[in-house]
């Protein structure tokens, strides 16, 4: 079983972001970077599949500047077998261009299963996996929270707003991973040492012309400081008054 997992390097979200003077990028000073949350779940799920089967190979792929090699090494340290960097130094706002470059690498790689995160926590597009599936001509099951592979068929459960779908598709297939499948393990020292010896290839990314262009980034208006209206249940009448008269939501 050959599995490809596409992983993206993103900043840690637990900060107050600043916009760079260009107006089109985040000020990266002082930011920490790691694999996007859902991509971590995907790598773990892929590694667990090969462990369960006792066979198979997990290839992690990341599109970006050389800094993504660090993210790829991390995936190798938690059990991926080999890594590919699709090198491109400038940021890309066109999700179709990203998907085209990833699909060009995956195409012909002989993968049985191709995994993506449900969304990247920075772009929040939720599009790359589905775009790639279509470009690869593979069936897609998106945002799955449970995954089984039986006799060459993926059986998955996915969550809709307030409902579930049970979905099946024959391999080779593309899946995008939601929370609930697996939490990534921490890299062990042994894993980190082993990762240094695993293959990491760098190739130029093949990008089409971009037709979705980033014009600017802005911070949303700050919330005005709120107020404590009281303690205990005696504060409820005042809350009701404010909800009615001030916030007008009741």
């Amino acid at each position: 079983m050959k599995i490809a997992v596409c992983i993206k390097r993103v900043p840690d979200m637990d900060v107050r972001f600043k916009i760079a003077p260009s107006g089109t990028a985040v000020d990266e000073s002082g930011l920490k970077f790691d694999m996007s949350d859902f991509d971590g779940y995907a790598v773990e799920a892929a590694v667990q599949l090969t462990e369960k089967l006792g066979a198979g190979e997990v290839t992690v792929i990341s599109l970006g500047a050389d800094v993504v090699q660090e993210t790829l090494r991390k995936a190798l340290s938690i059990g991926a077998h080999n890594a590919v960097q699709l090198k491109h130094d400038a940021p890309i706002s066109d999700g179709f261009a990203v998907a085209s470059a990833l699909a060009a690498e995956i195409q012909g790689g002989g993968y049985d299963l191709v995994m993506f995160g449900r969304m990247a926590v920075d772009t929040q597009n939720r599009s790359t996996g589905a775009l790639c599936a279509e470009l690869l001509g593979m069936p897609l099951i998106s945002a799955i929270s449970k995954l089984d592979i039986e006799n060459g068929t993926v059986k998955a459960r996915r969550e809709l707003e307030g409902a579930f779908e049970l979905v099946e598709a024959a391999l080779p297939a593309v899946v995008t991973i939601d929370e609930g499948i697996a939490r990534p393990r921490y890299p062990s020292l042994k894993g980190i040492m082993a990762a240094k010896k695993k293959p990491l290839a760098t190739k130029p990314a093949q990008l089409p012309e971009q037709r979705l262009l980033l014009e600017k980034l802005e911070l949303p208006a700050e919330r005005a400081a709120g107020r404590i209206i009281g303690e205990g249940k005696d504060a409820v009448p005042e809350l009701i008054r404010l909800l009615k008269e001030e916030a007008k939501v009741l």
């Binding site: 859902f38 597009n125 599009s127 049970l166 609930g180 979705l212 600017k216 009701i240 909800l243």
Partner: protein
């Protein structure tokens, strides 16, 4: 004048609010740029009855794909059929940025070899380009993007456009699928309605959310009661709660759960971890009830009450009932 397409999402035979939002958005653009609104519906036998609602919201033409093959969501057939239609020349196409909409819009765009604007909160059509707003970085940054494609394909975040009536004739046209549904490789074998009849988190004007401060699963009945008192509320939860199994994962709000922005968000026994705030900080009015006056949730709350949520919530529920009864 080029026409505007809207996909009206349905589930288990019912039209979803997101469907009306897409039609309303399409109508708005058609009124500005000219052209007709073509709204598409797909579902099991009888789904065509929904066409009247789409007409009331501005559809000039309602394209209906009806039959047993469409009882469950059938993304491959839908994407193939929609892409074939859009290929004949539409200025724009609107979809819902919902669980189903997300992959339908992406597959459609990829078939047309075009980028699209995902999860859009606002849009403007000027000349050849379309400018959109899309929140990113766990909603902490708003991105302004320009889409330069002949057809502007857009998925709309829930609530970005409010459904509005603007009645048109809504000529019904039965359409044929662009591929045989029997050859679809992805099969939805079941759709289980988790909380049928209840409001979805993405659509509810009010959300009552509970955290670990509720102490145990059984106490979520207090949250349910409060939501019922509002009448237009859904119940949400933190990851601490869904991890404990007190509520299903579908109820989780935050960075790795649902992103919501209701008119009113009541956080009960929730500390306000950054990953939780990521999912709800854009709510219009936030109320927090927490026994710890230092809890970070109070920093984003418009109104805070310090105290035991188990004691305060029933009083709040009773007060809301009284307030609703007196109009």
């Amino acid at each position: 004048m080029a026409n505007i397409f809207a996909f009206a999402e349905t589930r288990l035979g019912e039209l979803r609010r997101a469907g009306l939002e897409a039609v309303t958005a399409a109508r708005r653009v058609a009124d500005e740029t000219g052209g007709q609104v073509h709204a598409m519906l797909a579902g099991g036998p009888g789904i065509g009855a929904i066409a009247a609602k789409l007409a009331a919201h501005g559809a000039d033409v309602v394209l209906v794909l009806e039959g047993d093959a469409y009882v469950h969501y059938n993304p491959e057939v839908l994407a193939a059929t929609i892409a074939a239609r859009l290929g004949s020349g539409y200025r724009a196409a609107f979809f819902a940025a919902s669980a189903q909409g997300h992959d339908l819009v992406a597959r459609t765009a990829a078939k047309l070899k075009m980028p699209y604007a995902s999860d859009v909160t606002d849009f403007a059509f000027t000349g050849d380009s379309v400018t959109v707003q899309h929140p990113g970085y766990t909603n902490k940054i708003v991105q302004t993007l320009v889409l330069k494609t002949p057809t502007a394909i857009i998925s709309l975040r829930a609530g970005a456009v409010l459904p509005a009536e603007n009645a048109k004739t809504g000529v019904v046209e039965a359409i044929t699928p662009a591929m045989d549904p029997a050859t679809a490789r992805v099969k939805v074998t079941a759709t289980e309605a988790g909380n049928r009849g209840k409001l979805d988190l993405g659509e509810a004007p009010v959300i009552i959310a509970g955290g670990r401060g509720l102490k145990e699963a059984a106490n979520f009945s207090l949250v349910e009661d409060c939501a019922a008192a509002f009448g237009n509320a859904a119940v949400g939860a933190t990851r601490a709660v869904t991890d404990e199994g007190w509520r299903p994962h579908a109820d989780q709000i935050g960075q790795t759960g649902r992103l919501v922005s209701p008119d009113l968000y009541v956080a009960c026994g929730i500390s306000g971890a950054i990953q939780h705030l990521a999912g709800m900080r854009t709510s219009k009015c936030i109320v927090a009830i927490n026994k710890d006056k230092e809890a970070p949730i109070f920093k984003v709350a418009d109104y805070g009450i310090i105290g035991d949520v188990l004691e305060i919530l029933p009083v709040l529920t009773a007060a809301v009932k009284t307030a609703k009864a007196s109009g």
